[in-house]
């Protein structure tokens, strides 16, 4: 339906540029076209394009990057762990918080996984998975409660728990490490197992991604994550249960970091006390590259997962393309900066429009 030009004068039609009229008029596009345009314009789509370009470039240089069976497997398997962390991190950042402790949670649960297999060989594998997820969730619960109740920024709280959780691993593991020979072969084969050429761990990561993505998009409580991140004060005025959602986001992030710990053990076979050190920053980087606003309220876990895949794939592709070490790091940095600058530019353009639309002179 196109807006009729002859409306009664009581309807607000700003007599300033046509652009502002478009802002308040109902969309005249057909639903199918709107969905298509939205898709093409989305951040997820542009990351996908960049990702495909990176893969294409690496494959042209060295066809085994994609076309060999191990190349295809590694392409999906390597990012699996970071996808899990990025999905949890995205949920937290969407609520305008951040979880820096995930690397330490991962290290703790990876070591726990190894210890359970060594000390309790009778435990079924499922029990180990559940134990790691529950422990991760509990550590996340501690983060969430501290953030929600103490009203200290999550950045500070989780920076503190980053060191505390790492300290627990250090004092527990000491200099001992879990070796592949300590782990049951059934568990280790999980690290490389494939179903129809797709690695099992990747399927796990995608299953989690789909579940969380579906929840955040279609559940009332999932939408509240976005509302809280978009404007925490407004969320209180709306009568939303802000604390419960924030705690929920941290529990989710912790539980997924716990799951990522098991994935770490299965994939690498050896776990020492420094497992996962620094990976929290990769998770944040993946989320930011994936288009989740660092101040919350917008973005999707799909984007965050794609950001994780892009980050890992770039790290693997650049050496293959003969790019020196320094430029590999710098390129990742440039990617993060351009993602953030892009967000700021878009936001500034929007708010400028608002001011112009409001001012009649």
């Amino acid at each position: 339906m196109t807006p009729a030009p002859t409306q009664e004068p009581t309807v607000s039609v700003p007599d300033t540029p046509t652009e502002t009229q478009l802002l308040v008029e109902p969309s005249s596009m057909s639903p199918r076209r709107r969905v298509l345009e939205g898709l093409l314009r989305s951040r997820e789509f542009s990351i996908l394009v960049v990702l495909l370009l990176v893969i294409a470039a690496a494959t042209i240089k060295n066809p085994s990057f994609l076309l060999s069976s191990s190349g295809w497997r590694d392409l999906l398997l390597t990012p699996s762990m970071l996808i899990l962390l990025a999905v949890g991190q995205a949920a937290v950042i969407i609520t305008r918080n951040v979880d820096l402790s995930v690397g330490s949670v991962l290290g703790l649960t990876a070591y726990l996984t190894g210890r359970l297999f060594i000390d309790h060989p009778e435990l079924p594998m499922v029990a180990v998975f559940v134990a790691a997820i529950v422990v991760g969730g509990l550590l996340g619960l501690i983060n969430g409660l501290l953030v929600a109740l103490a009203r200290v920024p999550a950045l500070v709280i989780t920076l503190g728990t980053l060191y505390i959780y790492r300290g627990i691993v250090l004092s527990w593991a000491g200099s001992s490490r879990i070796n592949a020979s300590d782990l049951p072969s059934g568990f280790l084969s999980l690290g490389t197992a494939q179903v129809l050429t797709i690695p099992v761990l990747f399927i796990v990561a995608v299953a989690v991604l789909v579940a969380v993505g579906y929840y955040l998009y279609t559940a009332r409580s999932g939408r509240e994550f976005y509302a809280i991140g978009s404007d925490p004060d407004a969320a209180v005025l709306y009568g939303l249960n802000v604390r419960r959602r924030v705690v929920g986001a941290f529990v989710l992030s912790g539980a997924l970091a716990g799951l990522a710990g098991v994935v770490f053990a299965a994939r690498y076979g050896s776990v020492s006390s420094d497992a996962g050190t620094g990976i929290e920053l990769q998770a944040v980087a993946a989320v930011v590259i994936g288009g989740v606003a660092i101040f919350g309220g917008s973005g999707t876990v799909w984007g965050a997962a794609l950001g994780a895949v892009l980050l890992v794939t770039i790290n693997r592709a650049l050496p293959m393309l003969g790019i020196p070490d320094f430029w590999q790091q710098a390129l990742v940095g440039a990617l993060i900066l351009s993602a953030i600058v892009l967000d700021r530019v878009l936001a500034a353009r929007q708010s400028r429009r608002l001011v112009e639309a409001r001012d009649p002179s």
Partner: protein, 508 residues
């Protein structure tokens, strides 16, 4: 227990009787009374600080009352959260609506109570359709799918109203909804409000614009200093009577301005304009003169002061100090030209609360204190002590952290900080906000004394008695324009209120 009054069939939608509320020492409401009936638009008017907003927040569940009766449709009510008041059918539309900018218009309307389809998943199609239906019912065109970010204030209010209707709110409170709207947008809002009234809802409308009150409302309640003053049918009252009821108090001797010799112009502002904030503002402040800048909250007074001092920019116009132009957007240049600025929010803008009294006062004069680029604690303390003495800042030590001091003492530190720069013009925004009565008088005495020594003072204040008592001349700002320049003799409460509530001509 039934509270139905004999003359009306249905009980009033809202009954507030003798409601009291204090925040610590500050009494916001003494005895507020407001009775709103279904199918009626009830105006609530009063000066800044009369307690209107506090009263509304009690109804909205933001604050809890300390005493008095609160009934909704005859039933006792007491809300501990906004969720409770919402569930009871109360909707509040604030001057600046609180929407989630990243979310779609539809999500903003339905957040927390989205329409669910199969498997408890959100049914977006149904929600968009319902939002479109609500907008159609209101006679407005807003795309339900677009994000709330970038919507005009007027459209944001419409979304709040749509939300209220979808909740089937029986009581709709609008807190100065028209303050940020253009003429056309006001008309649209009024059309919507009348439609809601005709559906039998009760509407409470807070506004400073009398023409709007007379245009839209059928009853008016006046508040002053946290107390109920009177309720009148609109047909039986006049602007003069309302102004009289609003200001009806005498300017006490609490504000002693001693006459000072008024000299040459110090500050000359001409044609100052910042789009959407203030327009064509021109005035002069002479030495020895206290000029009061009066007006309603949000009229643009602080914005004018900030632009004059160079904190914010402006598009056109000029600021001159003693005949010499001061470059825009450069507080450093303003300070060198002899200006000092004591801002409204002293904790955020005027004071480093985590620093000592000395550091705060010496902060702006460090450059001139330093010898050979070096600065010692002793030099700072020697420079600062006389100022602190003079203002009788009560602290055990100048090393005390500013944040531990009372509001009054903090204000004195901020003033001392600026007096140390030996300014010729002092701009002071809300000099006595949040300060106890005794210190208030000290601040007033100080300002008067400074003027007596030839300083030019531009004082912004929302307290009418303070402006009238202190100022040699009162400038009234209304919606970004100067609407009156009143010498002391003719600055009556009525004259100032009239100028401050003048309605803007619709830009054509």
């Amino acid at each position: 227990m039934d509270t139905v009054s004999p003359e009306s069939a249905a009980p009033p939608t809202l009954t507030l009787r003798d409601v009291a509320k204090s925040f610590g020492q500050v009494v916001a409401l003494r005895s507020a009374t407001l009775v709103a009936h279904p199918g009626s638009i009830h105006a609530l008017v009063g000066e800044n600080g009369a307690g209107k907003s506090t009263l509304i927040k009690i109804v909205a569940g933001v604050h809890r009352r300390d005493g008095g009766d609160f009934l909704l449709a005859g039933e006792p009510a007491d809300f501990g959260s906004t969720a409770e008041s919402k569930a009871a059918g109360v909707a509040v539309i604030y001057q600046e609506p609180t929407l989630f900018p990243d979310l779609s218009v539809t999500e903003n309307i339905f957040m927390g109570r989205q329409i669910l389809g199969a498997g408890r998943r959100i049914d977006r199609a149904a929600m968009h359709a319902e939002a479109a239906r609500l907008f159609a019912g209101l006679g407005v065109h807003i795309d339900p799918r677009r994000p709330a970010l970038g919507l005009s204030i007027a459209d944001q209010q419409i979304i709040e109203i749509a939300k209220a209707i979808s909740l089937d709110a029986r009581l709709l409170i609008m807190d100065e909804p028209t303050a940020a709207l253009s003429g056309v947008e006001v008309e649209r809002l009024f059309a919507v409000a009348r439609r809601l009234r005709d559906e039998g809802r009760a509407i409470v409308f807070i506004s400073h614009r009398f023409d709007e009150v007379f245009d839209l409302c059928d009853t008016v309640t006046v508040m002053r200093d946290g107390e109920y003053v009177a309720t009148r049918p609109i047909a039986g009252t006049s602007v003069e009577e309302m102004v009289g009821l609003m200001v009806g108090r005498e300017v006490s001797d609490l504000f002693p301005k001693t006459p000072a010799e008024i000299g040459d112009p110090v500050l000359e502002v001409s044609g100052l304009t910042a789009r959407g904030v203030f327009h064509d503002v021109s005035f002069t402040v002479r030495s020895g003169e206290i000029v009061g800048l009066a007006g309603l909250v949000g009229a643009g007074r602080s914005e004018i002061a900030r632009a004059v001092f160079g904190v914010d920019g402006y598009e056109s116009g000029s600021v001159r100090m003693k005949g010499r132009a001061v470059s825009p957007r450069d507080p450093g240049a303003a300070i060198r030209a002899g200006m000092a600025f004591v801002p409204e929010d002293r904790r955020k803008q005027g004071l480093v609360t985590d620093a000592s009294v000395t550091d705060n006062i010496a902060g702006v004069i460090r450059g001139s204190l330093a010898k050979l680029g070096l600065l010692t604690k002793g030099m700072e303390n020697r420079a600062v002590a006389p100022w602190a003495d003079r203002l009788e800042v009560k602290t055990s030590s100048l090393d005390m952290f500013a944040k531990t001091m009372s509001g009054g003492n903090q204000q004195k530190v901020v003033i001392a900080k600026w007096l140390a720069t030996k300014p010729t013009l002092l701009i002071i925004d809300e000099p006595t906000r949040g300060i106890d009565v005794g210190t208030k008088a000290e601040v007033h005495r100080l300002l008067s004394e400074l003027a007596g020594q030839g300083m030019a003072i531009l004082m912004i204040s929302s307290e009418l008695p303070e402006v009238l008592g202190m100022a040699d001349r009162v400038l009234v700002v209304c919606e970004g324009r100067l609407t009156a320049d009143l010498p002391r003799e003719s600055a009556t409460p009525q004259a100032v209120m009239h100028a401050a509530t003048q309605t803007r001509e619709v830009a054509s």
